[in-house]
């Protein structure tokens, strides 16, 4: 049973900022980009409740992760113009360095990487017609560090960052991401290590677009409902247009994990729109 746990969680930067002054700075910048959304600005009390609710959701995911006793945590996230630029945008990228680092405000992150598992995934991909990019010298960013702060605060096990292109057209389809997840599951099930997977991002948000500040809560809740029902294959039938229109292109990261769990229903899910920009979502799957 080498694939032992699957999780998904948002990576919105304000989840890791302190309610009050830090949120104010974040929102001041945000509302300069999205003045139309300023009317919904959350009060300090709402900010504090959001932080508490997020911490509670993360605590459930962390409990499940620790109960699964993984040897390595695959982290599926997107790059936001830190490691990649228009010179070279990989659709999927596997990190092969020995260690990975990053910094988020006052927090430093330093994990061992698991390049052996990365190479196994690359080789299995080539053998099955899913050729992935790879490389070293990767810097962690908020897309990995925000959830890792809550889920793996001590670097007790190595991670394996895998990047999905979720913001620069042409994007991979949900079905293609699902296929990658299925491939990773096969590799994990053949491995001696106990492998867990975390997908990050979403849910609905429209950064840098004219719709910035909108949150499509009904679409988000539908996604969570389908994951709780174990409808992974049906989610693979989503179109990119559906994801774009609902501000859910980062759900492509989640689709990799959905592909790894298949028809396994999610055991827990949590959802809270942050009233600023993003629907925060959290899901755990227990793998038997």
């Amino acid at each position: 049973m080498p694939f032992v746990a699957a999780l998904a969680a948002s990576h919105a930067p304000n989840m890791l900022l302190d309610p009050g002054a830090e949120w104010e700075e974040f929102m001041t910048l945000h509302y300069r980009m999205a003045p139309q959304a300023a009317g919904g600005k959350p009060s300090l009390e709402v900010q504090q409740k959001l932080r508490t609710d997020a911490e509670n959701a993360f605590s459930v995911l962390r409990r499940d992760l620790e109960a699964a006793r993984p040897d390595v945590l695959i982290v599926v996230a997107n790059d936001q113009f830190v490691n990649f630029f228009f010179d070279n945008i990989p659709t999927f990228f596997v990190t092969l360095s020995d260690e990975v680092r990053g910094r988020f405000t006052r927090y430093d992150f330093h994990y061992r990487n698991q390049p052996e598992l990365g190479r196994a995934i690359l080789e299995a991909g080539v053998a099955s017609g899913l050729d992935l990019s790879f490389g070293e010298d990767i810097e962690l960013q908020h897309t990995q560090m925000v959830p890792l702060h809550f889920l793996l605060p001590e670097p007790d096990i190595p991670i394996l960052p895998i990047f999905v292109n979720t913001w620069i057209d042409p994007l991979p389809t949900p079905a293609r991401c699902y296929a990658l997840g299925s491939l990773i599951r096969e590799v994990a099930d053949a491995a001696s290590d106990r492998v867990a997977m975390l997908a990050t991002g979403g849910l609905s948000h429209f950064p840098g677009s004219p719709r910035i500040g909108e949150i499509d809560t009904s679409f988000d809740e539908g996604l969570l409902r389908q994951m709780r029902a174990g409808e992974g294959p049906a989610l693979a039938g989503l179109t990119l247009e559906q994801l774009r229109q609902s501000g859910n292109s980062e759900f492509l990261n989640w689709m990799v994990t959905v592909g790894a769990v298949g028809e396994t229903p999610a055991s827990d899910s949590f959802y809270m729109p942050d009233h600023v920009a993003t629907g925060w979502g959290f899901v755990s799957w227990k793998i038997s």
């Binding site: 974040f26 980009m33 113009f81 830190v82 988020f104 950064p207």
Partner: protein, 81 residues
């Protein structure tokens, strides 16, 4: 239109402290390192990120133009990537 260079300047504002420092000191001189159209230069000098997207700037990079606004000099958002 030189979309690549428009995005390149914004990416460098995000990732290269030297570019940010030079742009804050002398924006015209910093922009001269990039192959930009007159419209792009005008939009960048407006310091309004919403003017960049119609010119082809990626939405996630447009935000970084606000690093040139003194109001946001030390905003906490810039201390993470």
């Amino acid at each position: 239109m030189s979309r690549y260079h428009l995005n390149r300047f914004l990416f460098d504002l995000k990732m290269k402290p030297d570019t940010l420092s030079r742009a804050r000191t002398d924006l015209d001189k910093a922009l001269s390192d990039y192959d930009l159209s007159a419209d792009e230069v005008a939009a960048l000098k407006s310091k309004d990120p919403r003017q960049l997207r119609p010119l082809g700037a990626h939405g996630m990079l447009s935000l970084y133009l606000m690093r040139l606004d003194p109001e946001f000099d030390d905003n906490i958002y810039w201390t993470q990537k």
